[in-house]
């Protein structure tokens, strides 16, 4: 895995590829803006959120201990609008004995195509995710997740991706997804409505 990482970091040097950092939880400042945004967009849901729990939260793909869960690095190519994610899953992602859980693969695919949608479209939400599993992936192996932005139609972003072995000989999974851009202008309007009409706590 380290070898692959170095290979990609070399590609970054010529400027066409960018290494995307990935944090455990979104930095506080961004989180504040993002929270108000999402809460305004989904007013009924936000009532149920316990503020205490919020501070403990960790993004799902980084909540495992070293080596046990999702170990991954993403590289983004702006010109081709694609992301390659080098992923090594750990033993706590098991489904059938000896293989990855379908949901673990789904999570990594969602993370990769999601990142692709975010860099192109700002704040987005997954609308559809369609995954076809061709072969089961053995546990603790390294795979490449290649995602490609196919089309942008207004607020919709179509991203497709495939999961392959490192030598690109085995195709494990194919997926297509649809993301929707959340509209910032709409947010302010809803926020005012919510603030003005919400009864005092």
């Amino acid at each position: 895995m380290r070898l692959l990482f170095d290979q990609f970091m070399k590609k970054c040097e010529d400027g066409s590829w960018i290494h995307l950092p990935s944090y455990e939880d979104i930095a506080t400042q961004r989180s504040q803006d993002f929270s108000t945004f999402i809460h305004a967009y989904f007013p009924t849901a936000s009532e149920q959120i316990n503020k205490e729990k919020l501070s403990q939260g960790r993004i799902f793909t980084r909540s495992f201990e070293d080596g046990l869960g999702f170990e991954y690095v993403m590289f983004y190519n702006d010109a081709e609008k694609r992301i390659v994610c080098v992923f090594q899953g750990g033993p706590h992602l098991q489904g059938m004995p000896g293989f990855f859980h379908g949901g673990a693969i789904a999570t990594m695919i969602d993370a990769t195509v999601g990142m692709n949608a975010i860099v192109s479209g700002g704040i987005v939400m997954t609308a559809n995710l369609n995954i076809n599993f061709k072969r089961p992936i053995p546990l603790c192996s390294i795979v490449l997740i290649n995602s490609q932005l196919d089309k942008i139609e207004g607020r919709k972003l179509l991203v497709s991706c495939n999961v392959q072995s490192v030598d690109e000989k085995i195709l494990y999974t194919e997926a297509t997804s649809l993301f929707i851009k959340l509209n910032p202008e709409k947010e302010f309007h809803i926020k005012e409505l919510v603030l003005n009409s919400a009864p005092p706590a």
Partner: protein, 244 residues
């Protein structure tokens, strides 16, 4: 479950497709080495006496909604033919004595393997869930409460965590209802975000069994069914497990 005659039973090496029988007929033979009935799968899957820890039991982190719905379903296990599925740390513990068909089986080198839905073992941090299965209707209900370590957008569950829970419920249902083992495809349409720490109810039903494939669909919603979180469908491949 109806069997397609004993000629099929004679060819052990062929993978058999189960015909889509809508009802379960009384068991004619006890579980043979090749092939099994739904009741034998259930009894192997849910052992009466076991040393393995069952994680699908209420704990301090469960929200009141989840606790009360769990009690409701526990009552149904006594009267309406529902079964509460135990949840162990790994699928290996569920299929004691059986293994994946040769060709697919991978030698177990790491005993630290855990199923992803039971990997975060601190109470309340990860997937708090319990699955109830109804054999006669081939339906399942999963009570799911995502913990703070399953976040995506701040305060809400990651789409992938719902995908994992859906795949897991499909997988247990597929195995018990028709020996479905591997996911062939999974399709999820997200409608709303699930707040961390709240209850989401997944209703899974088996639509049809055809060509060695099980087709299932699922709706994920709040308990009062007023908010739909997601609609999904899945196709599983039928394969028989072999004796070890």
């Amino acid at each position: 479950m109806m069997r397609r005659g004993f000629q099929a039973a004679a060819t052990l090496s062929r993978l058999r497709a189960l015909p889509g029988a809508p009802r379960i007929l009384p068991i004619l033979n006890p579980a043979a080495a090749f092939g099994s009935s739904i009741d034998s799968r259930i009894s192997r899957f849910c052992p009466k006496k076991t040393d393995f820890k069952d994680y699908a039991l209420p704990n301090a982190s469960w929200c009141p909604d989840m606790l009360s719905l769990y009690q409701e379903f526990l009552e149904k296990t006594k009267t309406d033919g529902w079964i509460k599925l135990p949840s162990f740390a790994s699928n290996r513990e569920h299929i004691q004595g059986l293994k994946l068909p040769t060709g697919l089986a991978v030698t177990p080198d790491n005993s630290d393997c855990r199923i992803i839905t039971r990997s975060l073992q601190v109470e309340g941090q990860g997937y708090e869930h319990a699955i109830f299965f109804n054999p006669s209707e081939k339906k399942s209900v999963c009570l799911f409460q995502p913990g703070p370590y399953l976040e995506g957008a701040p305060g809400f569950a990651h789409g992938g965590s719902l995908a994992t829970m859906t795949d897991e419920t499909f997988s247990k249902t597929a195995y018990l209802a028709g020996e479905g083992l591997f996911t062939l495809s999974l399709s999820i349409r997200f409608k709303n975000l699930i707040p961390v720490g709240s209850l989401a109810v997944l209703n899974v039903s088996v639509d049809k069994i055809e060509d060695q494939k099980l087709y299932m669909s699922c709706i994920t919603q709040t308990r009062d069914q007023k908010t739909v979180y997601a609609k999904s469908s899945g196709v599983f491949l039928q394969l028989q497990l072999e004796q070890e």
